[in-house]
């Protein structure tokens, strides 16, 4: 009996975590994307976690990001830029910082074509399994719900058969 209770509690925890995972990954919304491809707004938003990146792959024009103004600003000579930044009270960046930020911006918008021999930012050697963990939980949630539904249906069928006998 205690084993059944423990199993029940674990299953409930998995289902609750899976429900959270569904909303975190925007699972349902992204599953039905294909059925509303005409709604361009939906495909432009989204991605993993809030304000995620995947949807941004569709944005290819810098003006979509308000990037044109920033690009012009960054093309100014250092002295002028530093003076303007000082006037605005902002932090003065050196060239390497600017360069790294520009690379990050490129990565953010998925505009990695043309950065040498077709290589892209996604080829990194990084392992970040947070999202994979959430996908696993959602997967486990579907499995647990199916197992319990199956058990329920079998129970109903058995009771029905008993009544008929």
């Amino acid at each position: 009996m205690s084993k059944k209770i423990i199993n029940g509690i674990i299953s409930l925890a998995i289902v609750i975590a899976a429900l959270y995972g569904l909303s975190r990954l925007r699972f349902i919304e992204r599953s039905i994307w294909i059925f509303k491809t005409n709604d361009m707004q939906n495909t432009r938003r989204g991605g993993f976690e809030r304000g995620g990146r995947e949807g941004r792959d569709f944005r290819t024009r810098p003006q979509d990001f308000g990037g044109r103004e920033r690009q012009n600003f960054e093309n100014l000579p250092d002295s002028v830029r530093q003076r303007l930044l000082a006037e605005r009270g902002a932090r003065v960046e050196n060239d390497s910082l600017r360069e790294s930020r520009a690379l990050n911006d490129t990565a953010e918008r998925g505009d990695f074509r043309g950065r040498g021999e077709g290589r892209d930012f996604r080829r990194g050697q990084s392992v970040r399994l947070v999202n994979v963990g959430w996908f696993f939980i959602v997967f486990a949630g579907f499995t647990v719900i199916t197992i319990y539904l199956d058990m329920l249906l079998k129970l109903i069928k058995r009771k029905k058969n008993q009544k008929e006998c």
């Binding site: 039905i32 495909t43 892209d120 080829r123 392992v127 994979v132 997967f139 647990v144 199916t146």
Partner: protein, 147 residues
């Protein structure tokens, strides 16, 4: 044979989960190659269960039990999901050159297709595992069976 099936299924699950987020595990290159390889694994999975597929296909409208029919329909949906996933993956591939395949369609269409089909297929995989949970229990010997 059952051990091989179990190992193959565990591998399929792990690779499928790693493929769900292209940024999670060694970038897009791994994502695309593993995506192609998982297709082969999937075909192998079907080949290992070919006798069941053959029997249910022949008897689907006659004498198959309802559960077998449900599993069969789910398997067909899974197959469709895998085909769409791989096809759309080929259409939007960036590290492997599939331009010679000339699949047509807009990049956005294929990308949306890829995301949606992979999410739906993952959910179907979960349901598939749930329906085969007894088999998993037997393989791991969670459950003692008389016969």
């Amino acid at each position: 044979m059952n051990r091989i099936k179990l190992i193959l299924n565990i591998l399929l699950l792990i690779v499928m989960l790693l493929l769900m987020d292209p940024r999670s595990f060694y970038g897009l290159e791994f994502h695309e190659w593993a995506g192609l390889i998982i297709g082969l694994f999937f075909i192998l999975h079907k080949a290992l269960n070919w006798s069941w597929i053959k029997i249910v296909t022949v008897c689907f409208f006659k004498s198959s039990p309802n559960r077998a029919r449900l599993n069969y329909v789910l398997d067909v949906l899974l197959l469709a999901g895998m085909v769409l996933m791989i096809l759309s993956g080929i259409a939007i591939a960036r590290t492997i050159n599939f331009s010679w395949m000339n699949l047509g369609g807009s990049g956005m269409f294929w990308r949306v297709m890829h995301t949606s089909s992979s999410f739906i297929t993952l959910a179907l995989f979960g349901i598939h595992l749930g329906l085969h949970w007894k088999w998993v229990q037997l393989r791991f010997k969670f459950k003692k069976v008389a016969s």
